[in-house]
């Protein structure tokens, strides 16, 4: 390391060597970081798959994944009702959340004066920071009794879960949609307005179609948020083992079923809960594939 007596060139060389040396270590650390996350995913995948094998073997794929008869005490572990519950709440949340989120994004990007937009943006950031259990509790204390009074049911159920999920997914959808709209070239809007289009026509006919893929990805990421949400949903959905086709019916999602029963489950029952985790994981993979597909489609157009 000492460059004494080596002259100016020596000093430079030593410095370069030390720099290269450090570069090497830094690169190693970064690689380790990346490797850890890949390793974590692999371990999770292998572990969940291994733990769900006993249920798949004992119960059978048909009775496990494609049956709605869930009744551990009699050895029935059909989870189709909960898969349906997960899909129903998630899509329900998107039906309400997507227009709301994209609408807010349009408001922020195109309509609101800067000062108003700043206040709204801060509010949404704050919403994203509220822990889900707080939102769930809020739902339990205010939303459920309100729904009970309005609908004459117990208040617990799919609709309460959907509303809670809308609140949870809204920040994701809004932020990403606003980001997409902002990234559109300003010429688009200028050209449209120059041709005599009104503001609404510009938004509806020019901006939204150009931002389509980005908005779709925003909604899909919002879905990812909704699909995995556990605590908040568990507090308001009613946690019944039956399947429901009613908006105000009580049911369970995959995540809420797992968290309700994992504490005391053992044997095949425990393994069946892991099989639910496996389904969730596959749903997540599916969402990612859809995102890849959507964003690949965009490239030739750009």
């Amino acid at each position: 390391m000492s460059a004494r007596g080596g002259g100016a060139a020596g000093v430079l060389r030593a410095k370069a060597a030390a720099f290269a040396d450090r570069e090497y270590w830094v690169r190693l650390v970064m690689f380790a970081c990346a490797a850890i996350s890949i390793l974590a995913i692999l371990v999770i995948f292998v572990f969940i798959f291994r733990e769900s094998l006993p249920a798949i073997r004992d119960v059978g794929i048909g009775n496990l994944f494609f049956s709605t008869n869930y009744n551990p005490q009699t050895g029935h572990y059909g989870m189709l009702g909960f898969i349906w519950g997960t899909l129903l709440t998630t899509f329900g949340a998107m039906v309400l959340g997507a227009p709301l989120g994209i609408g807010t994004a349009i408001f922020l990007d195109q309509i609101a004066p800067e000062r108003t937009a700043r206040v709204v943006r801060r509010g949404i950031e704050l919403l994203a920071g509220i822990p889900s259990v707080v939102i769930g509790w809020f739902g339990l204390i205010l939303l459920v009794p309100f729904l009970a009074r309005v609908t004459g049911t117990a208040g617990y159920g799919v609709f309460a879960a959907v509303l809670v999920l809308v609140v949870m997914a809204l920040p994701t959808i809004t932020t990403l949609s606003a980001e997409t709209l902002k990234s559109l070239p300003p010429e688009l809007k200028e050209a449209s307005v120059a041709m005599g289009a009104t503001r609404w026509q510009t938004i509806y006919k020019v901006l939204l179609p150009s931002a389509r893929e980005g908005l779709l990805i925003a909604v899909i990421l919002g879905m990812g948020r909704a699909i995995g949400e556990t605590m908040a949903v568990q507090m308001v959905i009613g946690n019944s083992r039956g399947i429901t086709f009613s908006l105000f019916g009580r049911t369970s999602t995959l995540t809420t079923r797992m968290v309700t029963e994992m504490a005391e489950a053992s044997g095949v029952h425990r393994s069946a809960l892991f099989a639910m985790a496996l389904v969730l994981l596959l749903l997540a993979v599916l969402l990612i594939l859809v995102i890849r597909f959507v964003s690949r489609e965009r490239k030739p157009a750009a």
């Binding site: 450090r22 650390v29 004459g152 117990a154 009613g238 946690n239």
Partner: protein, 289 residues
């Protein structure tokens, strides 16, 4: 680069300090006491009792580091079978011995008493249900309070989760469920993962009915009489109130050594009052009455 290096070094130092700290803590804890007992004891049986006995084993091994307590589930029958064949030293059971299980010199240690009370939201005007009606309500045959002398409102049924021992006992004693003919509560019932959640849900949901361990009743829910008998320790021990049971630990002959130490620990005032009482009624509180 330099700044990054410094950050890394700081992090490393912090991690090292933390490791050292935890190391010294670990040592300090280990040298506290070796406890009175040493050796190994195997326990299996009731899944109802599993959480309780696991907690006991952790605390017992903490106090007696030279012991090893293996606790497994499997169900009361499995535990008793394993006890008879000498695989385990203690069998946990949520039921009495029956049939050919008696006569093997098995010694009964009652470790807790369990009473299930049926509770309703305080707005519900019903005060008493016949046992037949209890069964009809929880299996979904009766869905409106009107049929039970209440208002024209839907009955909201609240039950425990599928893995719960309380649910198992309720299904057995109130719904008449057996191994060969399982009877289940209705599919749209709200499932709660603990006694506390049942209480909160029933307290906050109009027209709701549920069940929980007796110790959890408070003024925000109302306990119902069953066949005109209110749930309490007196009525339960005499058998007038049917939904109650002793929880047991069985041994083959009088226990000795670690097995005795472990049972004594479960029966100790501290464990009974601090842990057992969270879900069940401590043994002493029953015998007092």
């Amino acid at each position: 680069m330099k700044a990054l290096g410094r950050v890394l070094v700081t992090l490393l130092a912090a991690a090292l300090a933390l490791a050292l700290l935890s190391l010294t803590c670990g040592c300090a804890k280990k040298t506290v006491a070796l406890g009175r007992y040493s050796g190994r004891v195997r326990v299996s049986g009731s899944t109802t009792l599993l959480p309780l006995i696991q907690e006991a084993s952790i605390e017992f091994m903490d106090a007696n580091p030279r012991t090893k307590v293996d606790v497994q589930g499997g169900g009361s029958s499995t535990g008793i079978t394993q006890l008879k064949s000498g695989i385990v030293n203690i069998a946990n059971s949520s039921r009495e011995l029956k049939g050919d299980e008696t006569g093997w010199g098995l010694v009964d240690h009652r470790i807790a008493f369990d009473i299930i009370a049926i509770i309703v939201n305080p707005d519900v005007p019903v005060r008493n249900l016949t046992s037949n009606r209890v069964k009809a309500v929880f299996t979904g045959k009766v869905r409106n309070w009107k049929a039970l002398g209440g208002p024209d409102e839907e009955i909201v049924v609240v039950v425990r989760d599928q893995a719960s021992g309380t649910r198992e006992m309720f299904d057995e004693k109130a719904l008449g469920s057996t191994r060969d003919h399982p009877v289940e509560s209705e599919p749209s019932a709200i499932e709660c993962s603990s006694n506390g959640v049942v209480r909160e849900t029933v307290a906050n949901t109009r027209n709701s009915i549920g069940y929980l361990s007796y110790g959890f009743i408070n003024r925000y829910v109302r306990a119902l009489k069953v066949d005109d008998v209110p749930p309490d320790v007196g009525n339960s021990t005499t058998g007038r109130y049917p939904m109650a049971r002793w929880l047991h630990m069985f041994t083959r002959g009088q226990p000795g050594g670690v097995a005795k130490g472990f049972i004594d620990f479960v029966l100790s005032d501290r464990f009974q009052n601090e842990v057992v009482s969270q879900e069940y009624i401590p043994v002493r509180d029953v015998l007092k009455k």
